[in-house]
Amino acid sequence: MLLRRVIPCLDVAAGRVVKGTRFRDLRDAGDPAELAERYAAAGADEIVFLDIDAAPQRRGTLLDVVERTARRVFVPLTVGGGVRSEAEMKAVLRAGADRVSLNTAAVADPGLIRRSARRFGRQCVVVAIDARAREGAPGRWEVLVAGGRRNTGLDTVDWARRAADAGAGEILLTSIDRDGTRQGFDLPLLRAVSGAIGVPLVASGGAGSPADMVAAISEGGADAVLAASIFHRDVHSIAAVKAAMSRAGIPVRLVDAAA
């Protein structure tokens, strides 16, 4: 049976890991390759790098980070942030990423999803969606792009469905309202998207405790849980999260972690 994944996410800017709250107030949290290696040893099922800086002139820095990481970390690596074209996607994959996540560029040109799925295989293509509750419309979420700075007016559930239909192999869904708050995942949001798509769903934004991870899967219908701040700040270890999931009857990969 397919095990549920626990994924630490490293937000990378100018070659360093940073973490903020609700996409703001960024703080330095270390070297990406080093952190990734530590998380892999501690039982991370996958590592996600998001280049939140994503300035084209600093693209080389990201590729260097990916390559350094891929050489010493033997768990899957997904990389995203500012990827705009098939050529950029190819460069990230060649640097050692296993999968690439598209966000702003996919909204601007949904054809990019279809083209990259055809070229690299749909399992390589993750579509990341940053969602925010629509004011005055309970049960509706709007899609924001450009690191949460621009509202697209798109409905999150519609967009997730369209992205999956176009060839996305996975949806990485972040609640902007919960990002970095440790108040728990937005479960109604997860349920709404999970029920609308046939590809795996990764829950992101709001993880504060192992119980939140359990809820994202058993109540939200997510296939994997992603978190940043609770791991970076050593609030909870990956092992503790997995132990709690296992106790709740969720199948996970248990590792005799040295770390």
Binding site: V75, D98, R99, R119, G121, E170, G198
Partner: protein, 233 residues
């Protein structure tokens, strides 16, 4: 000190060469990426990685002369490890796009049936049907990392080495003569993955051990279209 076997890492534009190459180096091999047919000659073993669709992959193999080179190498008994798409390519045909594949192992590549979600992404138990040195030191149902929607079903049941369940059960590892293949990604499967790659490097280093494997499964030689009948010499 034991010698490091030289492995040809086949680069046809669909693989994650960095991670596969690096993991094989850690596993004790010397690696060279090859992207043209004539360059495949003279290696102790071959590794074909890759993710994605089979039709574009086969187009590249044909254009570069890799297709006949790989076929020849396998027929002459050079060990072959296929990973993910590199395994799927050894079958005859893919349902994904109707592509004609290398045809080294009788069987067809099909969409995973009854899967709750596709692609099948994540760690899943690989359950062995029989023992094989490739899995030496790996727990019987250890999880490995998968990322795919299709899998090859060998026509000869003896060719299946392990299965995995995602909705229904599919063949997740194959062995025919000196050809082995895994649908999962050992280079992304942490300790157990590195162990499996070490085991492959060990098999390349001590070719006598393949005979041992063959001896256990006489049925292979009579498999339909036993392309690999020369491989056990």
């Amino acid at each position: 000190m034991t010698t490091r076997p030289r492995l040809a890492l086949v680069d046809y534009g669909a693989g994650n060469l960095v991670s596969v190459g690096r993991a094989l180096e850690v596993a004790g091999a010397e690696i060279r990426a090859v992207s043209r047919g004539p360059d495949v000659d003279g290696f102790d073993g071959i590794v074909v990685p890759g993710v994605g669709a089979s039709a574009p992959a086969m187009a590249v193999l044909r254009r570069t002369g890799l297709e006949p080179a790989l076929r020849e190498a396998v027929a002459s008994g050079v060990p072959y490890l296929g990973i993910c798409l590199g395994l799927q390519l050894v079958f005859e045909r893919s349902d994904e796009d109707g592509a004609e594949l290398l045809g080294l192992v009788p069987g067809v590549v099909r969409l995973l049936a009854d899967a709750p979600r596709l692609p099948h992404i994540g760690w899943n138990a690989v359950e062995r049907l029989r023992e094989h040195p490739l899995f030496e030191g790996v727990k019987p149902d250890a999880p490995f990392y998968f990322v795919h929607s299709y899998a090859g079903e060998p026509r000869a049941t003896e060719a299946a080495l392990a299965t995995t369940e995602h909705g229904s059960r599919f063949t997740s590892a194959v062995s025919v003569g000196r050809l082995v293949g895994v649908q999962f990604h050992p280079e992304r499967s942490a300790e157990d993955g590195l162990r499996l790659l070490e085991n492959y490097v060990g098999l390349v280093r001590e070719p006598d051990r393949w005979t041992e494997v063959q001896g256990r499964r006489p049925a292979d030689e009579s498999a339909p279209g036993a392309v690999l009948s020369g491989a056990g010499r």
